[in-house]
């Protein structure tokens, strides 16, 4: 790194980049500042908020995510599924030879760590399940809860040398919950009462709003999303961990 010309060149380049970014920033600001400042009014979201009672879900964000824009959520679960498949393929294959070596190389964690992780595990699972099950009542839902569940397993995987996740079982959960999501959507399509894909075909009286069993199909879908997200994020964690 002693050659002066190289360093000089890098500096000029960096300076140019800073200037470019600054210029673009100024450009964006001059366009955005006059036009983006007043809050929104008369949007699709306001119209949906007015009609939200139809879904009987106390959390309007959940009714948008799972019902009104449920198709987006299906797509998003698919993206996660694709990423998990991709990561699995990248790290898979060489597993048999290396697993033994990696377990041996990793020093046994101390007793406090193992016991602490074991104690935390059920608490984290419970928290995840609670967040998933109350997705239509309070902030939270399938994604948030699913990630918490995956974290619980990740903690065990990191701290507890005896803990192994069964790949086949995780894959099975993944595919069951994914297929379940699509099947629920198709059920909405073929049942005469709703007639649209992902339609809410279970009874969802408005009086029940705020109770745990309400909002028809929304909590069911969110549970499936939770299981799927948990399984996929867990699989990604595990694939990355096994290659250490």
């Amino acid at each position: 790194m002693s050659q002066v010309p190289l360093r000089k060149r890098v500096r000029v380049k960096t300076l140019l980049l800073v200037l470019l970014c600054g210029w673009l920033l100024a450009l964006f600001l001059t366009i955005l500042l006059p036009h983006g400042l007043d809050g929104l009014s008369g949007t699709v979201g306001d119209a949906l908020l007015e009609r939200n009672a139809e879904t009987a879900s106390a959390n309007a964000v959940t009714s948008v995510v799972v019902s009104y824009r449920g198709f987006d959520t299906l797509g998003e679960v698919t993206v996660l599924f694709l990423a998990a498949t991709g990561v699995g393929m990248l790290f898979g294959g060489r597993r048999q030879e290396e697993t033994g070596a990696s377990v041996a190389r990793r020093a046994a964690p101390n007793e406090m760590m193992v016991t602490g992780a074991r104690l935390l595990f059920p608490v984290l699972l419970l928290l995840g399940v609670y967040i998933i099950a109350h997705g239509h009542l309070s902030p939270g839902g399938g994604f948030q809860g699913g990630v918490i569940i995956a974290t619980a397993f990740f903690l065990r995987l990191l701290a507890d040398p005896d803990f192994v996740l069964d790949h086949a079982r995780v894959g099975l959960l993944e595919s069951l919950s994914g297929s379940g999501f699509v099947l629920l959507g198709l059920l909405g399509l073929v049942l005469l009462s709703t007639g649209t894909f992902l339609g809410n075909f279970l009874p969802h009286p408005v009086e029940a709003m705020g109770r745990l069993v309400s909002a028809g199909v929304i909590p069911l879908i969110y549970v499936l999303v939770g299981v799927k997200v948990g399984a996929e994020v867990g699989a990604i964690f595990q694939d990355m961990l096994e290659q250490e």
Binding site: F81, V182, V190
Partner: protein, 491 residues
């Protein structure tokens, strides 16, 4: 219970099949499902053609259009869906019949290939802007993973480059979507089209620029396409046929769908898009002249054709648009044929460099003959379909008295002829050192011969489906019809 064949099956069925992949692994049905799913959907698309001719089919999902997501199936999007699924069938049969590498046959590739096709189908079907972003990411993520499938140095490098460029493009598109929602409060494409004119001009420009950069990267237009040959070089040639045949077409369609929909008068963007198209075409064809690797050569040739399609679509007259759609179909078939041939040659020779392929015409006569046929179709020589589609485009320009695009297209075809004949000449060089084994793997050629047959059929009898292209062009350009069908009589 009512069992209806609605557009949502184009998305729901492959998703279901992909999620249930462990089941197919256990039953040993992986390859047959990969083949059967697009085949069924292709059949569905063909059966829907008459219904769509009268009026576009709208599929509401949960809540009616301006508020919720809907799928918009008109002649243009149906044409693309049919094309993608046909390409899927051809690709699956190539994998199935040919003795392909094991890394293309497992559960992972099955899921990725199926969902790549689904993502592209969703891109052309959806009538909602954010849903479009979601499908863009589905198609994108499966493409990133597919290009790194082989897991060696080159494949990983290709996957990384693709992922970085692709996600930056996706961020630009997301920012444009956010700004559109903040300005109009709408996400439905038709409602956005209605309100786009009310946005202040500077903001319109910014949104347009962000969308153009984002989709330009994805659709491989000129200043944003330097990465393309690297990706095509690093991935498997078979997989590349999907990128060139399906992915680019979907993004081109989306780009022009948005342009025709959002701008009340497409003439605003005409000069820009035509210039981009012409530049893409000329630069790519010129660079292709001196490529030493077949995959890079085919990549540049593919870029050249993308430029041609952009040029014709950007002109936005009915005749050139119909010609461009025809050329899209055509180019998908041709590039699949050429990349399949490249895959077969790579398997035999372990290299696709020009110097290593000397005399391949004697070792693999059928494959080389198919390559010649494909290159003639790219050039647009008479009995093949490339001739008809290029003629449509040229006729469209001539009718509108625009002669500089005609000159450019003919010039590009000349350059194209230059490099394709250079390769063909090397293929038929007699070289004593060339391997003389003639054990051509027979069944693998079936899909290739099928494509060649389709190219000939479309070239000899274009009147079989020419009406569909005109109808599709009308649907693509018919902004008023789309607005009316989605929003009622408000337009």
């Amino acid at each position: 219970m009512a069992f209806q064949l609605t557009p949502v099956w184009f998305i729901a069925l492959p998703l279901l099949v992909a999620f249930a992949a462990p089941l197919w692994v256990r039953l040993g049905l992986l390859m047959s499902m990969l083949f059967a799913t697009p085949l069924v959907l292709f059949g569905l698309a063909v059966s829907l053609f008459p219904a769509v001719g009268d009026a576009p089919l709208l599929e509401t999902i949960v809540i009616a259009p301006p508020l919720g997501i809907h799928l918009h199936l008109d002649s243009a999007s149906l044409l693309m869906v049919a094309l993608f699924n046909l390409a899927g069938v051809l690709f699956a049969s190539f994998l199935w019949l040919g003795d392909t590498e094991p890394h293309l046959r497992g559960r992972g590739p099955f899921v990725l290939i199926l969902l790549l096709i689904t993502g592209c189908t969703g891109l052309v079907l959806t009538g909602d802007l954010f849903n479009l972003y979601v499908f863009l990411e589905i198609a994108g993520v499966s493409a990133y993973a597919l290009s790194a499938l082989r897991r060696d140095k080159t494949a990983l490098e290709a996957g990384l480059k693709y992922l970085i460029i692709g996600s930056v493009a996706a961020i630009f598109i997301l920012l444009a979507i956010v700004l559109l929602y903040l300005e109009t409060g709408q996400l439905n494409l038709a409602a956005l089209a209605r309100d786009f004119g009310d946005i202040p001009a500077a903001m319109q420009g910014l949104i347009g620029l962000l969308l153009l950069v984002g989709l330009g990267v994805k659709a491989e237009l000129f200043p944003f396409n330097v990465w393309v040959p690297d990706i095509y070089r690093g991935s498997d040639p078979a997989v590349t046929s999907l990128f060139s045949g399906i992915l680019v077409k979907a993004f081109l369609f989306v780009l022009f769908h948005l342009v025709f929909l959002l701008l009340a008068d497409p003439a605003v963007a005409r000069a820009w898009l035509m210039a981009l198209g012409a530049l893409t075409m000329l630069v790519a064809e010129l660079v292709a002249l001196r490529q030493q690797d077949m995959r890079r050569m085919l990549a540049y040739s593919s870029l050249g054709q993308v430029g041609l399609i952009t040029l014709a679509l950007g002109f936005a007259s009915e005749a050139t648009t119909a010609g461009a759609l025809f050329h899209m179909v055509n180019h998908t078939l041709v590039k699949m044929l050429l990349f399949f041939v490249a895959a077969l040659m790579l398997r035999r020779f372990l290299s696709l460099r020009l110097a290593d392929l000397r005399g391949v015409g004697h070792a693999m006569p059928v494959a080389t003959a198919l390559f010649v046929l494909g290159s003639l179709a790219v050039l647009g020589l008479p009995p093949l379909s490339g001739f008809v589609s290029k003629l449509c485009i040229l006729k469209g320009f001539a009718e509108a008295q625009a002669f500089w695009p005609i000159a450019l297209i003919l010039l590009a075809a000349l350059i194209e002829a230059g490099y394709y004949f250079r390769w063909i000449k090397v293929f038929y060089d007699s070289d004593p050192a060339a391997p003389q084994c003639r054990s051509d793997d027979g069944p693998a050629y079936l899909p290739l011969v099928l494509i060649a047959g389709l190219l000939l059929l479309l070239g000899v009898a274009p009147f079989l489906i020419e009406d569909w292209f005109v109808q599709a062009a009308r649907a693509l350009l018919g902004r008023g019809t789309i607005l009316e069908s989605v929003l009622g009589v408000q337009s």
